[in-house]
Symmetry: C2
């Protein structure tokens, strides 16, 4: 992976950091690079996201990556933020329309999302700068979902003592993660039965006086 920084670089003391020029964030070229990087990430994993390959995929020179992003970590973070913001917004829109457990469950089923999570968690394992960003987002996402689950369970007459909303949420999250993760591996034993069980349970919780 040709680790970090080519040279220590004797930096002029008057310009403490970021002396390099950086491209505008509205640039179409920048957007193309981001799109190429995102595709690479999903198709081939984060290790495939190198400035050279991103450049090639976008039909551009690899140095442009460094012109628009201070470092590869910054590129990764930009990809993460965009997707995070977008999926948070999508979730909140969907919940605003129909604040049910089924809505949340269906949102989780997006296979792209699970692939993203895997890649970024693995990334976080050796790029500390990325870990905290992911953790912060995870908490934010959890809080927003929790609100929806709490409301949905209350509407179904389920008390928090019978079933803590946060536990219900984690069960759903865990399940959808395993299901999509295994699907990408080609393992699908038991998936059908499990999905059926979730559907039944959601229906039951939506309108019953019992756990």
């Amino acid at each position: 992976m040709a680790r970090r920084a080519a040279k220590p670089v004797t930096r002029p003391v008057t310009q403490p950091v970021a002396p390099r020029r950086l491209g505008a964030s509205q640039s179409a070229t920048r957007a193309a690079l981001l799109a190429a990087a995102e595709t690479l990430l999903l198709e081939s994993g984060y290790a495939a996201v190198t400035s050279r390959r991103v450049g090639a995929k976008a039909g551009l020179k690899p140095q442009l990556v460094h012109y628009y992003f201070r470092s590869m970590d910054e590129l990764f973070l930009e990809i993460f933020r965009r997707n995070a913001e977008e999926s948070l917004a999508r979730m909140q829109r969907a919940v605003a329309t129909d604040p049910s457990l089924r809505t949340l469950w269906q949102l989780n089923a997006d296979p792209r999302g699970a692939t993203f999570i895997i890649e970024f968690v693995a990334l976080a394992n050796h790029r500390k700068a990325i870990r905290s960003e992911i953790a912060a987002y995870a908490e934010r996402f959890r809080a927003a979902q929790l609100e929806a689950v709490t409301a949905a369970l209350a509407a179904g007459g389920i008390s928090p003592e019978q079933l803590p909303p946060v536990a219900a949420l984690l069960v759903m999250t865990g399940l959808s993660q395993v299901l999509t993760l295994e699907s990408t591996l080609g393992v699908t034993t038991g998936h059908e039965e499990t999905i059926a069980l979730v559907e039944r349970t959601i229906t039951r919780l939506a309108s019953s006086p019992n756990s």
Copy 2:
């Protein structure tokens, strides 16, 4: 990542493949390299497992990695197989002693196991040679666990119609995966409540006539 093979290399036609010598599989040096690689994988993610770093961690020359393993993929597979076999065996031993849901749940709680899974699934995302191996193992593990869950539920008087054993298994697997995954990120919101719910549910399923 300084991708693949230094040179095409003009290979003599009489020696179609694997002309290189390989070290003995009982070698202590080999074991040291494997241990170092495994530690690196867990601590820093698969991208940190490079011949140079593995060598350094083991206090050996990086070239030795290539002497004992034909390629980095082979090293990864060796790590995977060892851990896979061992955890399958451990599970079967535990279940033989006490074939209950709680036994299975406690086995899943091992954080090492979940970290391994994350790393290898991410790896499988762009190393095809590894994917099939993981998928095959997953099916094997699933089948063994399923047997135990089926027996445990039957013993508790739960019919497969009330709760399909394979679905119960996937719920447990998904949960333990999310819990440890989030823990490594430092996110633990709701974990306590969820673990409590699982414990309660296991107790209920172990000895009751109701779903």
